[in-house]
Amino acid sequence: MHFIRVFLAVLSCKLSRWAIRLLGRGGTAFPGRVALKICPDVLGVVSRNVRTILITGTNGKTTTSRMVEQAFIDTKKSYFSNKSGANLISGITAEFCMNATLTGKAKKEFAVIECDEAASKTVLKYLKPEVIVATNVFRDQLDRYGEITHTLNNIIEGISHSPESLLCLNADCSLIASIPSHVKNPTVFFGLNVPLERGDAKVLSDAPHCIHCKTEYEYDYRTYGHLGGFRCPKCGYSRPTPQYAVTEITAQDVDSSSVNMDLNGRDLFLHINLPAVYNIYNAAGAAAALDAFGFQRAEIAGALASFDCGFGRMEKFDLEGTPGRMMLVKNPAGCNQVMRYLAALPDAAMFVVCLNDKDADGTDISWIWDADFERLSTMGDRLTRVLVSGVRAEDMALRLKYAGVPADRMEIIHDYPTLVERMCQSEDRVFIMPTYTAMLDLRSTLQKRLGGKEFWE
């Protein structure tokens, strides 16, 4: 009888997705929920025989997925991915059902799947990826996820359901690097052998204490946040040596970075088609996963040099002649990296922040006080104008006042069409930093004005 349930689940998933598309919407979660209702383990059936790379972690999931996916595109592989941020069990189930026959047989050979860190414990009960990439764990949406160790435990629980998967772990994240002490999976590590900050630098750390014995870590060097060459002086837990290591950052500018990598014993020069340090981490993770999956070095380098992420990940816009970039922020660690990128730019810039506090953004906005907006004031006169918007614009403006942004350069604009109008009028580059739901609203306003494809395509 099970195959009838599978048949009905896949059928209703396809029908409801088709109906939703007919209505002109981009819903991805609902068809998956329908399928799961009819057949709770349908994901296990429709994902059988699909060679999958799954990417999870707090920051960098989407970007890493796009990097990995580019290699599948370039080599014309038969693959699919969950593109539109449908990264919970429902969205992932829907994507697999859509790529299966009505009898539940996979139609594609490969899948590149981004998975929400909290959802991984459920998803991995059914989906057995060939490779699992874990990017990092940062403090994020405490109102939803609770403590940072809770997030880590969700990932560990998920992995324990899939003991054959090759783990591709961030060696520099003391939380992620502790996963092998709980599971027996084959494991490789990636990381940055590049001291970006001194070991004793005062930084915002989301994990200052040893995950095993709670002693404060010491650092040989830091890269950002709690990432870096950590070691526990008491129990000896320390950063594992990564087989996939960035050995040198040779260039960084407004649009890209270039690095040298040790790719499990072989040298690889990478030109990464996105700027900022956190994308170097994403590239290292993607390169490790692709190499482990059997891709050639030239294919890996080609993918990283040409991928296009979009969807608020350093996404480029042409604001009627003014270059703009949108950088989604979700938490203090990610936000600090955006600040660091902005503060290092040589040219004048307009900065736009849109802060919402809806469920998908996190209803608690206290994190803006932990993020290092003070870096903005180090830009001095290069920061020509700051526009503040979103449901919590007033809180954001107050934060910027305390960060030292001059009041006469700051303006609260709640209305998005007016906001976009002002961005288009800017003579300087525009950097837009929205939270998740603010990004959705802002993108739709931008699309109305500038044209462009719908985000779920």
């Binding site: 940072i148 404060e216 932990d370």
Partner: protein, 252 residues
């Protein structure tokens, strides 16, 4: 006033979860804008505290992971010193976990009890449901009487001992326990609250009342001059409108 306000930031390494840095930043700036220096001394776990030479002690909120470290550090002597400082009339701002820590104990919902420093007569009991969201309360007369807005996120329900006053009365949200309408604690010069957000930046009247309390222990006649609080009040009023849509009409 050519003086310095000495702020002791207790456990910045352990209790720093909800933008607590914003409270320090806010106190420092609001003093600086009035020409008063703030000297911030961080006292992490393992370091010796000198509460006697502080004008104001700030304790933030934290997560359970580090709680053992915190409790064992308190037991090494800081508990008695902090208690003595409170009895002595030191001004203290304590948020969430830092607030709970000043009470008698915390009991989890399944009955595990964790003893705290017993500086003030109250206790906290864990519940399965979290009290979470934007909220507002009005401070009592002894705390300046202003309306404070913030964000609460706690599963502990706090019950004050008889004769112990709350910091304020809830206008919207849960506060101490969601039952008796009280929020936080007010005892000698201690201000305890579940409000992070963080509490001080968008509640300038409350912040100034706190700073003035601290300054007046050494300079009894000192009054802080008013500042341009347009940004602060805009943020305050926006939250108040969202939790109490009729607030303007009813003149809160």
């Amino acid at each position: 006033m050519s003086t310095t306000l000495r702020i002791c930031h207790l456990y910045p390494d352990l209790l720093n979860l909800y933008g607590d840095r914003g409270n320090i930043l806010c106190m420092k700036q609001r003093l600086a804008w009035r020409g008063i220096d703030a000297e911030i001394t961080e006292v992490p776990a393992g370091a010796k505290a000198d509460f006697a030479n502080a004008d104001l002690i700030f304790i933030g909120g934290g997560q359970d992971f580090e709680q053992e470290v915190l409790l064992s550090d308190l037991k090494s002597g800081k508990d008695k010193e902090l208690k003595a400082a409170i009895q002595d009339g030191k001004t203290v701002l304590a948020i969430c976990g830092g607030y709970q820590m000043l009470g008698n104990y915390y009991e989890t919902w399944d009955g595990v009890r964790c003893d705290f420093i017993e500086a003030i007569d109250f206790y906290t009991v864990g519940s399965r449901e979290r009290m979470i969201g934007n909220f507002a309360f009005r401070c009592g007369e002894h705390s300046g009487g202003s309306v404070v807005v913030g964000f609460e996120n706690h599963s502990g329900k706090t019950y004050l001992g008889s004769g112990v006053e709350p910091l304020g009365r809830i206008l919207a949200g849960s506060g101490n326990n969601g039952e008796d309408g009280g929020e936080g604690v007010r005892y000698r010069n201690v201000f305890g609250s579940y409000s992070h957000g963080p509490i001080l930046p968008k509640n300038p009247s409350f912040c100034d009342f706190l700073l003035q309390t601290a300054i007046q222990t050494r300079h009894p006649d000192f009054c802080l001059e008013p500042l341009d609080d347009r940004f602060e009040l805009a943020a305050h009023d926006a939250v108040l409108r969202s939790v109490l849509p009729d607030s303007e009409k009813s003149g809160i």
